[in-house]
């Protein structure tokens, strides 16, 4: 596909040698895969139904109304009930439910009892339910998926804008640079949380809108770094050589300067990922984030702090946050160390 040059190979080997970071990367990748295939583990749809000799796979695709399986309703089949029905009939029919047979949106309503319900293995609420009876594990996992998608989108958008603007500032310099510097200084001093809070209290911020608002303020961080490093690279001999050979601005920027500058950008990525997750969680916590009933960590955090008697809510979400954020930070630390050519020589005392 693409060949790795020896330096990259060496960096990768050094990254692998930092066990904390390497194992975090493996675990994090696993978590990502699990969360994106979460429907197979946590869902109110059955994985597999055998009814009257026919096989059904309801997890993905359109819903099967209850009548398909000989029940008396037209809306989506409740597979947990179906399982009981099949068990009572003691026929050949068969339902295989996911490990957690609850969706992130569905309330588990019980007669005479009020949620939140404590964790119970019998009920398959491994981490209990929240104040409206929704399964916490399901909401954590789907919330993680939302947060990580949010963070990744934010990362791609902010990096593309930040890199282009910063690079242009460093490369072209002059008035363009000075004016943009002032604008960015103003921009970075505007308390962006204020603006987000004001904007999201007027319009209900759907996923895309929220990403857009965040990008609007977040791209600045990248520009300063890009500006200085482009500025430095521009002064190097190889750039002058390229210019002397008659290379266009476009060619100099994309073929010569960017490849030299971008490698360091990799070390920023993990910290931007945690930053994105934390921003979304904080906004959701304050109630300015994604609209309910979107599963989100911030919303769980808010519920947990408001219901301290239901300790399992706040415990599960904080533990999940600590684990995920620490893992990503460990990855970041290891990448940074792998990219850092500085090897300290210290003295034996």
């Amino acid at each position: 596909m693409f060949s790795l040059d020896p330096i990259t190979k060496k960096k990768f080997a050094r990254f692998r040698s930092i066990r904390r970071g390497w194992w975090s990367l493996i675990c994090f990748t696993l978590l990502l895969i699990l969360s994106f295939g979460a429907e197979l583990l946590i869902s109110n749809r059955a994985l597999f139904v055998k009814y009257e000799g026919k096989f059904y796979f309801p997890t993905y695709g359109s819903i099967y109304p209850g009548k398909t399986f000989g029940l008396d309703y037209d809306y989506e089949t409740n597979y947990r009930d179906l399982k009981k029905v099949f068990l009572d009939q003691s026929s050949n029919n068969f339902v295989l439910l996911p490990i957690v047979p609850w969706s992130a949106y569905e309330s588990d309503l019980k007669d005479g009892q009020y949620p939140p319900f404590a964790p119970s293995i019998d009920q398959r609420h491994f981490l209990g339910t929240d104040t409206t009876g929704r399964d916490i594990l399901a909401r954590l996992v789907y919330g993680f998926r939302t947060a990580i998608s949010f963070s990744m989108l934010l990362l791609i958008a902010t990096y593309s804008i930040g890199v282009s603007v910063g690079c242009a500032m460093g490369y072209f310099g002059g008035k363009f640079d000075i004016i943009l510097q002032r604008i960015i200084e103003i921009w970075s001093n505007v308390p962006f949380l204020y603006v987000i809070m004001i904007v999201s209290s007027i319009i209900v911020p759907r996923f895309g809108i929220l990403v857009a608002i965040m990008v609007f303020f977040d791209w600045i961080g990248m520009t300063w770094y890009m500006r200085t490093s482009t500025y430095k690279e521009k002064a190097r001999e190889y750039t002058s050589a390229a210019k002397a050979l008659g290379a266009s601005h476009f060619r100099i920027i994309f073929n010569h300067i960017l490849p030299n500058v971008l490698s360091v950008l990799v070390t920023f990525i993990p910290f931007s990922v945690t930053g994105g997750i934390v921003s979304l969680t904080s906004l959701d916590y304050l109630g300015f984030g994604l609209p309910p009933p979107t599963p989100s960590w911030g919303e769980l955090l808010a519920q947990g702090t408001a219901n301290l008697q239901a300790l399992w809510i706040v415990t599960s979400v904080t533990v999940a946050m600590i684990v995920v954020l620490t893992m990503v930070t460990f990855i970041g630390e290891a990448i940074r160390e792998a990219f850092d050519p500085k090897q300290y020589s210290t003295f034996e005392s």
Partner: protein, 352 residues
């Protein structure tokens, strides 16, 4: 920005100070315009509460229905008066400059919620945030500098590795989540410490030692949350600076001349490695006084952060703008202050 060219420092600082003006104008104008074009402002709030009031009136009794209509909605005249009162009758730019003119006379206007001067609310909140800010900074420096030194001296030993894990965990978790966790464990579950607020309700009746104890008891959890959020960066800065210095030539020379390792670290390398920490100092000023509103919200501390947050939620724009003025000024002067700090600790650096 940092260049080794000789030019008087004062000239540089003067230029930086003058640059505050356009930036400050830009920031305040931007937010002012945003607040003007956002629906749900104080007048709409008032109209809404009037309508709600009339609804209540109707449901509670049918006795006097005649006066309800005029009470339920505001008349044109009243609306105009209100618009004039809040300055909404003029175009945005004019209103902005009127506001700016007042700010230059140290008049930040009145809160639309309480009617009291904005400056009074800020004045009563600022010391609380400042108390937490300065304590946080003090504790952070007290932990980070020794820890950083120890980690640098014992680079790549088990002590360094284990402490790195904790420092990175501290770095990864946002301060307010630490706050929530601490509150759940120590205030809610174990009930060792109070849940929040700056002081207890009966604070006035306490004796002085009791008062001090009360403030400390309330401060332990929020301070821990603040410190955990900020000490990782400082520790690593300290450690890496010191490592840089330790592998530099002058330390080698010192050791070669027969200076003990301990002395080389303490007398030679340590002082130089403090320089970058100084740059950080000025940037902390704004944070010091404005506080983290998330932590203040969790622990229900009436500081600047919470004031700003509540005023946005309640659309109390004079306070929003007031808090913005204070925090922008602090931020901008903080940046200059850190430059001065750098120049003081390292005479080699000169500004252009």
């Amino acid at each position: 920005m940092l260049q080794c060219e000789s030019e008087p420092m004062t000239e540089y600082l003067l230029r930086r100070l003058l640059l505050i003006i356009p930036t400050f104008l830009g920031i305040t104008m931007l937010v002012f315009i945003v607040t003007r074009f956002v629906p749900g402002g104080p007048i709409e709030k008032l109209i809404l509460s009037k309508q709600m009031g009339s609804m209540d009136g109707k449901s509670s009794g049918m006795s006097s229905t005649s006066g309800r209509a005029s009470q339920g909605t505001l008349s044109e005249e009243q609306l105009e008066q209100l618009n004039a009162y809040y300055g909404f009758d003029k175009p945005v730019i004019t209103a902005y400059f009127i506001w700016l003119g007042k700010v230059l006379q140290f008049d930040l206007g009145n809160s639309t919620r309480y009617g009291e001067p904005v400056w009074d609310s800020i004045k009563s909140r600022l010391p609380i945030s400042a108390f937490y800010g300065f304590s946080t900074m003090l504790i952070t420096y007290l932990i980070c500098i020794p820890l950083g030194v120890l980690k640098a001296v014992r680079h790549k030993t088990w002590f360094d590795n284990i402490s790195s894990i904790f420092v990175f965990i501290g770095y990864a978790i946002p301060g307010y989540v630490v706050g929530i966790l601490l509150m759940v464990v120590f205030a809610s579950k174990l009930e060792w410490l109070p849940m929040g607020k700056f002081i207890s309700d009966g604070f006035e009746d306490l004796t002085t030692p009791q008062k001090i104890l009360d403030v400390i008891r309330h401060a332990v959890l929020p301070l821990t949350a603040y410190v955990v959020g900020s000490f990782a960066l400082m520790t690593f800065m300290m450690k890496n600076n010191l490592l840089d210095q330790l592998s530099s030539d002058y330390v080698r020379t010192a050791i070669a001349k027969g200076c003990s390792y301990r002395r080389a670290v303490v007398m030679h390398a340590f002082r130089n490695s403090l320089i970058p920490l100084a740059t950080n100092f000025g940037n902390n000023i704004a944070f010091l006084l404005s506080g983290s509103f998330l932590i203040e919200k969790i622990f229900n501390i009436d500081g600047m952060g919470l004031l700003g947050y509540e005023s946005i939620v309640e659309r109390d724009y004079p306070i929003v703008m007031g808090v913005l003025v204070i925090s922008a000024l602090l931020q901008l002067t903080g940046n200059i202050l850190s430059d001065i700090c750098v120049a003081i600790v390292d005479p080699r650096i000169q500004f252009r």
